[in-house]
């Protein structure tokens, strides 16, 4: 089932800047989708348009089949948004701001549910404190709690873990997983490739307002993921260069780092080992590394 469908979306800001061009995107119900891209790529712009904060120029967007303009109440009632910037009334109490959020979305008040949200984000003890008395990371969690306060089916998180410590980041990831288990669709943007790698089912890459690719995370890794085989040899031999002439490799002390194209040649690893052994190059350590998203990402936007 489709949660969000974006068709031929273009966005110009008032100053004429074209922030998004011809975006087509489908987000499936229950998946975690991560949108990756450098600063200024258009991630926030895309999120803000879907959520009703920015205007689109043309194109069509539906949320569970509801057009975000013609049927905005239905569309928006499904969505919770955690914007990139922390914005709260710092004199408001934590619990009050959650009640406000819930009310805005026309949900019956439920202290019980809100307390559950606060507990899951480890904010329960702070519930009666003014927001200004919280730390930066806690404020961000308040933003997340606000977005969850009306039980959304889709959660947008625009860089949820910016400025959040490692421990909290991991507990947040767990929160997101739990939400996913409950059928919530999650759309997040991030600069931390690790985050996308750990969390996402699918990854989209956006650059200068264009979506360069959308793939299952594993597929991207597989597709673009040349593997590197790192072999540590016992002693270098003089004719090493001649023996290995057909390989693309780097030498660092007694480590040889090979880039092998596993996609097109399934025998490349065994061929390499054969060559090494036939030429009596003995080795004592072998490591195989996949390229991670970061490298793939840099490769993509380099093109």
């Amino acid at each position: 089932m489709t949660a969000i469908l974006v068709k031929n979306l273009n966005k110009y800001y008032d100053n004429g800047f074209k922030a998004l061009s011809n975006i087509n995107l489908e987000i499936k119900k229950g998946e975690i989708f991560a949108l990756l891209g450098p600063n200024g790529a258009g991630k926030s712009t895309l999120i803000n348009i879907i959520c009703g904060i920015n205007k689109k120029k043309d194109g069509e967007i539906t949320v569970f089949g509801h057009d975000i303009e013609k049927n905005y109440k239905m569309a928006r009632s499904k969505i919770g948004l955690v914007p990139q910037e922390i914005a709260t009334d710092s004199f408001e109490k934590v619990i009050d701001t959650l009640k406000f959020s819930r009310g805005l979305f026309n949900k019956k008040s439920s202290t019980e549910y809100l307390e559950k949200v606060l507990k899951s984000l480890e904010l329960f003890k702070k519930r009666n404190q003014q927001i200004r008395t919280l730390s930066g990371g806690m404020k961000r969690r308040v933003m997340i709690a606000k977005a969850m306060s009306h039980e959304p089916n889709i959660l947008f998180l625009d860089e949820p873990t910016a400025g959040v410590d490692v421990e909290l980041r991991q507990s947040l990831w767990k929160n997101l997983y739990d939400l996913k288990k409950n059928g919530v669709t999650i759309f997040l943007t991030t600069h931390y490739i690790e985050e996308a790698e750990r969390l996402a089912d699918r990854v989209g890459i956006i650059h200068q307002g264009e979506i360069l690719m959308v793939e299952k995370k594993d597929k991207i890794l597989e597709k673009l993921g040349d593997k590197r085989v790192i072999i540590t040899i016992n002693k270098t031999s003089k004719n090493l260069k001649n023996i290995l002439i057909k390989y693309n490799y780097q030498k660092k002390k007694n480590k040889l780092i090979f880039s092998l194209d596993l996609k097109n040649n399934r025998n490349s690893v065994s061929d390499l080992f054969k060559d090494l052994i036939n030429n009596s190059i003995s080795f004592y350590d072998v490591e195989i590394k996949k390229n991670n998203l970061e490298e793939i990402f840099l490769k993509l936007i380099d093109q």
């Binding site: 800001y13 008032d14 959520c51 009703g52 904060i53 920015n54 205007k55 905005y72 109440k73 239905m74 569309a75 928006r76 009632s77 969505i79 948004l81 914007p83 910037e85 914005a87 709260t88 009334d89 004199f91 408001e92 009050d96 009640k99 406000f100 959020s101 819930r102 009310g103 805005l104 979305f105 026309n106 949900k107 019956k108 008040s109 606000k146």
Partner: protein, 253 residues
């Protein structure tokens, strides 16, 4: 209809008000007391009666108007400007709540606050003068209507403004002068003829005239003309707001 959303905005705005309630009440009460001492007692005792009402009592409706108009404008403009300024507007924009409902929440809250302040000034004035309000019910309806109209106007200013100066601009350069010149402290009929004519272009004259009628039963300007003027202004504000939200002007980029 997103009633809970309207209530959420209303409650939030009222709690924001009550956080600084002392200050938002103390200052109008203080300035009203000063006006009574200066204009009512000191100068007023030498002026005598206007239209059969002694001067101290005569200025009560105008004084209430003076405060209530500026309060309505600043409450409503701040109510919507502040979230824009601090970024918290994102939540209202992304909620399933219509422009009409958003406006209702903010404007009714601002109206409530102005009516409270107006009532407090009215009570304060009874310490200085003997008040006999001829049409109390009509007086209260007019107060609400005027507060509502100017809260709508303030809401528009708040949407239009993109810095703090602009919020102050219209209240201090347009509304306060017009209120002073609109007969808060004198009767239009006391002016030379040419200034009387010019005064009729001042919309505040009609508000004060109608409001003063509810106190003393004397109308400087035909009551129906006054009330029609108020309603025209009210509908002009509603139309402007409708237009603003339709185009997303200054709220959505």
């Amino acid at each position: 209809m997103n009633i809970k959303g309207i209530v959420a905005i209303y409650k939030y705005e009222m709690s924001r008000t009550f956080r600084t309630f002392g200050q938002s009440i103390a200052s109008p009460v203080l300035s009203t007391a000063l006006y009574f001492i200066v204009f009512g007692s000191a100068i007023g005792s030498r002026i005598g009666e206007i239209d059969g009402v002694n001067y101290s009592s005569f200025i009560v409706p105008g004084l209430i108007m003076l405060t209530v108009l500026t309060q309505s404008l600043s409450n409503a403009s701040f109510g919507i400007f502040f979230p824009k300024f601090s970024g918290t507007i994102y939540e209202v924009l992304s909620a399933p709540i219509s422009p009409f409902e958003i406006t209702t929440g903010y404007v009714t809250a601002a109206t409530t606050k102005s009516v409270i302040v107006g009532s407090i000034i009215l009570i304060t004035s009874t310490f200085f003068v003997d008040l006999n309000i001829k049409y109390p019910f009509e007086m209260f309806c007019l107060l609400i209507l005027i507060c509502l109209t100017f809260s709508l106007f303030g809401f528009i200013i708040g949407v239009w403004a993109n810095d703090f100066q602009r919020i102050q601009l219209i209240p201090s350069f347009v509304i306060t002068p017009l209120t002073f010149l609109g007969g808060s402290f004198y009767s239009i009929s006391m002016l030379p003829e040419i200034w009387q004519k010019i005064s009729y272009f001042n919309p505040i004259v009609y508000l004060i005239s109608a409001f003063r009628w509810s106190f003393y039963g004397e109308e400087e300007i035909d009551l129906y003309i006054s009330i029609t003027t108020i309603f025209i202004f009210l509908f002009a504000c509603l139309l402007t707001i409708h237009f603003i939200f339709k185009t997303g002007y200054r709220i959505k980029s």
